[in-house]
């Protein structure tokens, strides 16, 4: 859960702000909340969905397969 694809600098900043650190708007005031929610949600979801399948699940499936094969 540590790392994620950071949404990066938001392209949605309403007006072009000159390169001036002090002028960076607070991200949390993102006006398009629905879009923001969607991105965060997918970041959370995709982070896990893109991971390889842990061995424990493959082992589990193999074990259960053997068992049900006995029927």
């Amino acid at each position: 859960m540590v790392d994620k694809k950071a949404p990066g600098p938001s392209p949605m900043t309403p007006n072009p702000i000159p390169a001036d650190d002090s002028a960076v708007p607070p991200k949390k005031r993102n006006p398009n909340v629905k879009d923001h929610i969607g991105r965060q949600l997918r970041a959370l979801y995709d982070e896990v969905a893109n991971q390889p399948v842990p061995d424990r699940f493959m082992e589990l499936l193999n074990r259960l397969d053997e068992k049900s094969g006995d029927e």
């Binding site: 859960m1 949390k28 909340v33 959370l44 979801y45 896990v48 499936l61 049900s68």
Partner: protein, 181 residues
């Protein structure tokens, strides 16, 4: 004449393996804890294989697995209700690095807010907004009407908006105190 015991089983198994990443993602978003999420997935797979005969070949395996996972989550949820730990609190303490503190805080805030939603709204939002299911599929999984699903998603978004906009008037912030002064 073809005897197809192997192909059907092999196909289901392949589909099941292919579904695991999305099951894990669904579980993490739903319960907010990676370890518990994997336990849920494990339980889901075990139950699925035990009950594989009740799965109708040709129907949506992912939806079927999501349904099982969801049921496992809710029965777990009822059992564990009393021991809801400060998972996000302890996690946020370990994970924050100064370099990406802002992004990271935002991310943790989001996870925190997501966990604050009522479970029915949370799962609706995840199914529709992240796992890419249709409203019909999601409604089928949650055993509710499509209209109910739509309204849950909409309420989830409104509630999250409230939680994430940090309305100063609300007084009770869910944010970790970053500035004790």
């Amino acid at each position: 004449m073809m005897h197809d015991t192997l192909p059907a089983g092999a196909q289901i198994r392949r589909d099941m393996v292919a579904a695991i990443p999305r099951l894990r993602a669904f579980a993490v978003s739903l319960c907010g804890n990676p370890d518990r999420a994997d336990d849920l997935v494990q339980e889901t797979l075990a139950k699925a294989l035990l009950n594989i005969k009740s799965f109708t070949v040709g129907t949506n395996l992912l939806a079927w697995l999501f349904t099982i996972l969801r049921n496992a989550y809710y029965s777990e949820f009822r059992k564990r209700r009393r021991e809801v730990a400060d998972i996000d609190g302890s996690l946020s303490a370990t994970l924050i690095s100064k370099a990406n503190q802002d992004d990271h805080m935002e991310y943790l805030d989001f996870r925190d807010a997501l966990q604050k939603l009522p479970p029915d709204q949370r799962e609706a939002l995840i199914l529709i907004g992240a796992s890419g299911l249709s409203y019909e599929e999601a409604a089928d999984i949650c055993k509710c009407a499509v209209g109910t699903m739509k309204s849950r998603v909409s309420r989830a978004r409104s509630r999250l908006s409230e939680l994430l906009q940090y309305d100063p008037g609300s007084g009770q912030s869910h944010l970790p105190a970053s500035d004790p002064d």
